[in-house]
């Protein structure tokens, strides 16, 4: 729960991780360790396995080989789920039944074996909505909100349990600039408080100053693990709009590079 506890071991530890879906190997031989307080960016082209990696780290999809430990505990019902906050790329397609922002955020208070709302759930959910600037829309149905507002609801749902590890899946894709700024501010604030952050990015973009380390995936394998790749030449200009991923530091890709999957 509290971020002030000094961690002895790694927050995330994956060894020899492999994922096969429908006979198709998506990830193979991934070794990944995330240290406490780190801000790690996962980069790579579409289809390189970034989302699959994050999902398998959080137990959303089963791993085929290897093992994952979160805060030293193997995945399963006994893992410290209250310390993990996940922000998916978007809400699932709406069904007919409306759900308010408050209801969606409140569902983030459940984890592992905690199947009922804790005491003070309403205030905690309202506080989380205030943190993302949506306190006035707590009782609005999320289906009626814009994409950017829905994203903020999703981050509030992850933050409501005050996680020590925050995992974000492309938080800035398809999102207006003010919401991107909200995301970066929030992540920077959490980082200062000691939260570990794993963020999938298509480009470093507004997150660039926060990133300590970048892992680049290519065809389901780790192609780079170290300092974030720097943009070069004209791409490094302060006002250059990045529209493509810098997948490898040695070979600055042309803006028209297309990754072709085998």
């Amino acid at each position: 729960m509290s971020s002030s506890v000094i961690e002895a071991g790694p927050v995330v530890e994956a060894t020899g991780l492999g994922v096969t879906i429908g006979g198709q190997p998506i990830l193979a031989g991934i070794d990944l360790t995330v240290a406490p307080g780190e801000v790690l960016a996962l980069l790579g082209a579409n289809g390189s396995g970034k989302s699959t990696l994050v999902r398998s780290l959080l137990g959303v999809i089963p791993t085929t080989t290897g093992s994952v430990r979160l805060f030293g505990a193997p995945l399963g019902v006994s893992a410290p789920w209250d310390r993990v906050g996940y922000v998916p790329q978007r809400l699932p397609a709406a069904s007919g039944v409306p759900a308010t922002a408050l209801e969606v955020v409140t569902s983030g208070l459940l984890h592992g074996r905690a199947l009922r709302r804790p005491h003070g759930h309403r205030q905690r959910a309202l506080d989380a909505l205030t943190d993302v600037g949506l306190s006035d829309r707590a009782h609005q149905a999320v289906q009626e909100m814009s994409g950017g507002q829905q994203q903020r609801v999703l981050i509030a749902r992850a933050l409501v349990r005050r996680p020590d590890l925050l995992v974000l899946d492309e938080p800035t894709s398809g999102i207006d600039i003010p919401t991107q700024a909200t995301f970066v501010d929030t992540v920077s604030r959490l980082h200062d408080a000691g939260t570990t952050v794993v963020v999938i990015l298509h480009e470093l973009g507004p997150f660039a100053p926060l990133i300590d380390r970048a892992v680049v995936l290519r065809h389901g394998r780790v192609a780079h693990d170290g300092p974030p790749p720097r943009a070069r030449g004209e791409h490094a200009g302060e006002w250059h709009d990045h529209t493509h991923a810098h997948s490898h530091p040695e070979e600055p890709p042309s803006p028209f590079t297309v990754e072709v999957l085998p």
């Binding site: 999902r55 209801e103 199947l115 009782h139 814009s146 207006d176």
Partner: protein, 315 residues
């Protein structure tokens, strides 16, 4: 006879008393489960379970007649409970796999369920009218034993559906997030499937297996015309479920019409009226900028020429 006398007469009939209690229990419980099913986009699941439950009724009947039980159909409801639970778990497993072939597997199960039921009930010595009472309900012949079954199962359904509603909401709303939170997704999905199965078997007496799904789904459809939150949708659906069930039943006291069909038609009429007057009743919000805090980040030609540094967003 005054209207009051008629009401007193209605309420003093033991037959009607039992039927009314059953209608209230089923009317309240079915939409609670229905809300989760609609949220999971499985509105027709109840229908599928109902088809499979018919085979359960027939198997119960068959076993009862072999064992020489009196009445012959003593095991019909337990048979339906077992078949409905097995059927709902199979449907849930097929959904979990998410394969396209699941569609066909469900179709095979539904029609197999109905055909098997019709066939077996004849083998067991049942008649067409026995069959009709299960397919379309027979609330006017609810026995005290039936009522105890209904009360116990309704308590189970409401206890699980309301007691764990936040967890069931979480898993129905966003399964991926529920998994990433370590919630027992499979257990919760199976729980929804099981309480849906139990609801089908208790609603069988009131509206019949072929119309069970209507009592689970139509009140939810009515409620979501007006409600703006999940909990209000569920509460309103439950209240509507009780109202249409009781009203439908009471109508059949004076008119010789089948109660199950009356209840369902009534619910659909309410939906139609609700949908028609919705634009008139629902307060229209004055048009406003949905994003008052939004920075206009698209530069138009008419805008003053802006040099690059001021493009930084400060808002």
């Amino acid at each position: 006879m005054t209207a009051w006398d008629q009401v007193v007469e209605l309420l003093s009939s033991p037959l009607m008393q039992r039927a009314l209690i059953a209608a209230v229990l089923v009317g309240a419980a079915a939409p609670v489960v229905g809300t989760f099913l609609v949220q999971r986009r499985m509105a027709l699941m109840g229908d599928g379970i109902g088809h499979v439950a018919l085979t359960g009724v027939a198997v119960g009947w068959l076993v009862g007649s072999w064992a020489g039980l009196v009445p012959q159909d003593a095991l019909a409801v337990p048979g339906a409970v077992v078949a409905a639970i097995v059927g709902s778990i199979v449907i849930e497993l097929v959904r979990e796999r998410g394969r396209t072939s699941g569609d066909l597997a469900l179709a095979l199960m539904f029609y197999g369920g109905i055909a098997g039921g019709v066939l077996l009930i004849k083998v067991a010595g049942g008649t067409n009218s026995n069959l009709i009472s299960y397919l379309f309900g027979s609330i006017s012949t609810v026995s005290t034993t039936d009522l105890w079954w209904t009360a116990a199962l309704a308590a189970l359904v409401l206890g699980a559906g309301l007691g764990l509603r936040t967890a069931l909401f979480a898993v129905s709303h966003d399964e991926e997030f529920a998994r990433a939170s370590g919630l027992p997704v499979r257990f919760l999905s199976m729980l929804i499937a099981t309480i849906a199965a139990l609801t089908v078997t208790i609603a069988m007496r009131v509206v019949g297996l072929l119309l069970v799904s209507a009592l689970m789904i139509v009140p939810v459809a009515i409620a979501q015309l007006y409600a703006r939150s999940f909990s209000r949708t569920m509460t309103a659906a439950s209240v509507i479920g009780v109202l249409v069930s009781v009203t439908g039943l009471v109508l059949t006291y004076w008119q010789d019409i089948p109660p199950g069909a009356t209840i369902v038609v009534l619910a659909i009429v309410v939906y139609g009226v609700g949908a028609a007057v919705r634009p008139l009743v629902r307060r229209t919000a004055p048009p406003r900028d949905p994003h008052p805090d939004m920075v206009d980040d698209v530069l138009l030609v008419d805008d003053a020429v802006v040099d690059p540094p001021s493009r930084t967003i400060t808002g």
